[in-house]
């Protein structure tokens, strides 16, 4: 355990507790307007979605754009458990994530043989298939939607987000994460180095789907109602934009991207028809001046806090 205690980790922990405490305090004293609360929780949800998509697209280099499909699976499965089966929230969230991961595994196994554009098209199609399936199941309300009581609080959303980011970060900073990165860099060389590239592509896809499912579950149990239209390919693109904007391959970039895009969405909420125009313009400017995204593949680092060695 002593390896965990250093000035860098202590600083991060204090920062996290401070953010959590501030928002929690304002929520309890009712000084935080509901609109802000909604967007803070949305930020947590989108951070989970963006970092998990980055694991697939940025770290492993497999261009998937069907993330909303996995989010939908997590949302509906968790809602079925909490609403229809009256199960506890945590069970619903975990079950949603696991079912989504299983779906990711089954979908990933055949589709990850495809490369580049073909994989993008296949995953886009699969995301839509998932949505259409839920649209046609009367048990979960079909097109009119599925009402779910709001049980997610700031505490749930915030700490689940922290755990998700931590798990993905720990995975990336290991020999298994390096195996994924090597696939992105040069698949033939990765194979020649003894790396089972199929296994790691499917593993990254499965982990990504797991956390997309978790985020879907949080979303479903917060938003009162879920409808298939929520999980259309536009949602997948929203997440993709966050990842690209933050930098493919950078987790801190994805976090920044998620915060940035959600904030922009909130600020422009009153001019909803202009929102897409402005985000599109932002993207164009970004691609012209910084095509690698805000962070590129680099991470925002607090290593200077660590001192000399440790």
């Amino acid at each position: 355990m002593s390896r965990w205690i250093n000035s860098k980790n202590i600083f991060i922990l204090i920062a996290l507790l401070a953010i959590y405490g501030l928002v929690q305090g304002m929520t309890l004293t009712d000084t935080l307007p509901p609109f802000y609360r909604l967007n803070l929780i949305l930020i947590c949800i989108y951070i989970i979605l963006a970092t998990s998509l980055n694991l697939i697209n940025g770290i492993t280099g497999q261009f998937s754009i069907g993330h909303a499909g996995f989010m939908a699976i997590g949302a509906y499965i968790s809602a079925i458990i909490t609403v229809k089966l009256h199960g506890p929230l945590l069970l619903g969230l975990i079950a949603g994530a696991i079912v989504s991961a299983i779906a990711g595994f089954l979908i990933g196994l055949p589709t990850l043989r495809l490369k580049g554009d073909y994989l993008a098209i296949a995953t886009l199609g699969l995301g839509e298939i998932v949505r259409i399936i839920f649209l046609n199941i009367e048990y979960v309300g079909g097109a009119s939607g599925f009402s779910v009581p709001k049980t997610i609080t700031w505490t749930w959303a915030f700490w689940l987000m922290v755990i998700s980011v931590l798990v993905i970060r720990n995975f990336i900073n290991s020999t298994h994460g390096r195996a994924c990165i090597s696939i992105r860099e040069n698949e033939i060389a990765a194979e020649a180095m003894g790396i089972n590239t199929t296994k790691y592509k499917v593993l990254a896809f499965t982990i990504g789907a797991f956390f997309a499912g978790l985020a879907g579950g949080i979303y479903a149990n917060y938003m009162y109602i879920i409808q298939p239209m929520t999980f259309s390919f536009l949602k997948s693109f929203d997440i993709l934009v966050m990842v690209v904007l933050g930098g493919l391959g950078s987790l801190t970039g994805s976090i920044l991207g998620a915060i940035f895009m959600t904030t922009i969405g909130a600020v422009l909420a009153s001019l909803s028809e202009w929102r897409l125009v402005i985000t599109a313009l932002l993207l164009v400017v970004m691609m012209l001046f910084r095509p690698t995204g805000l962070m590129g593949t680099k991470e925002f680092s607090l290593n200077f806090l660590k001192g000399k060695k440790g």
Binding site: N170, S174, T175, H176, I181, A189, A192, M193, L203
Partner: protein
């Protein structure tokens, strides 16, 4: 002791027989050259040995097991490592990460160990870090450990590729034109390096090369490939005076 035995190995692409009835036998500890004119099928032969292509026919017996038809990563895990004719480093990663990736198959901690940061993770990572640095020292790249691989000069990229291949801890090392693009001094240093790593790592080496001074200088035996078949094999001296080889390289003698 025979390390690698290739029997009647063939590969056709449509109607073209890139390699046909290739036979080779390499004993433990040998340093073998594979030469031939352009388009003779040398790299195809390497790709067959390392599983990049599936052979149409034939057997590849490596350490008494047939490895024909295995995937490239499985062949590497069995102890056969290679470098590429056109360098294939992980160009945007640091020098040390390039080597660390190659230690993957010998790392024992699981994904869960990594996610939960169990002691096995820290032990494993420390071991990889130390081994990778040791290897970089041998290849005189330790000062450049944190540099991005694509920024290295050409000769150092070649050296790094060999270092990376050695990190998979192979028994047999396949070098595909290691001296390509090097000047005579660099080629000379490379010869020394190849001799030295063979002794130090107890390796068997098979190399493809166009630079005759290198092949004749370091190889104990040479196989000559032309139109996908072996047309001669023997010691460098025998190969130099073999009329078939001279014909393949220079064309038939006109009187």
């Amino acid at each position: 002791m025979t390390l690698l035995k290739v029997e009647n190995l063939s590969k056709s692409f449509g109607g073209l027989k890139a390699v046909s009835n290739l036979n080779m036998e390499i004993s433990q500890g040998e340093l073998i050259g594979l030469i031939g004119p352009n388009g003779a099928g040398k790299t195809t032969a390497f790709n067959l040995l390392t599983g990049v292509y599936e052979p149409s026919e034939g057997k590849i017996i490596f350490q008494d097991k047939n490895v024909a038809g295995l995937k490239p990563y499985q062949v590497t895990q069995k102890g056969m490592a290679r470098t590429f004719q056109n360098i294939r480093l992980f160009a945007d990663l640091t020098v040390i990460d390039n080597v660390k990736i190659a230690y993957h198959q010998n790392t024992t901690y699981s994904s869960f160990g990594a996610i939960l940061r169990l002691p096995s993770y820290y032990r494993g990572e420390q071991e990889i870090e130390e081994k990778a640095m040791q290897l970089l020292k041998i290849f005189k790249l330790e000062d450049k450990a944190q540099e991005v691989a694509k920024n290295l000069p050409y000769g150092e990229q070649r050296r790094l590729e060999i270092a990376r291949a050695l990190a998979t801890q192979p028994k047999l090392l396949l070098l595909d034109e290691p001296a390509a693009g090097m000047n005579p001094q660099e080629t000379h240093d490379l010869m020394e390096l190849i001799r030295w790593i063979r002794k130090e790592f107890e390796l068997t080496i098979l190399l493809i090369e166009h630079d005759m001074s290198l092949v004749m200088g370091v190889c104990e035996r040479i196989y000559v490939l032309d139109y996908g078949t072996i047309i001669a094999h023997g010691t460098p001296a025998e190969i130099k005076s073999n009329p078939k080889v001279i014909e393949a390289y220079l064309g038939e003698e006109v009187v």
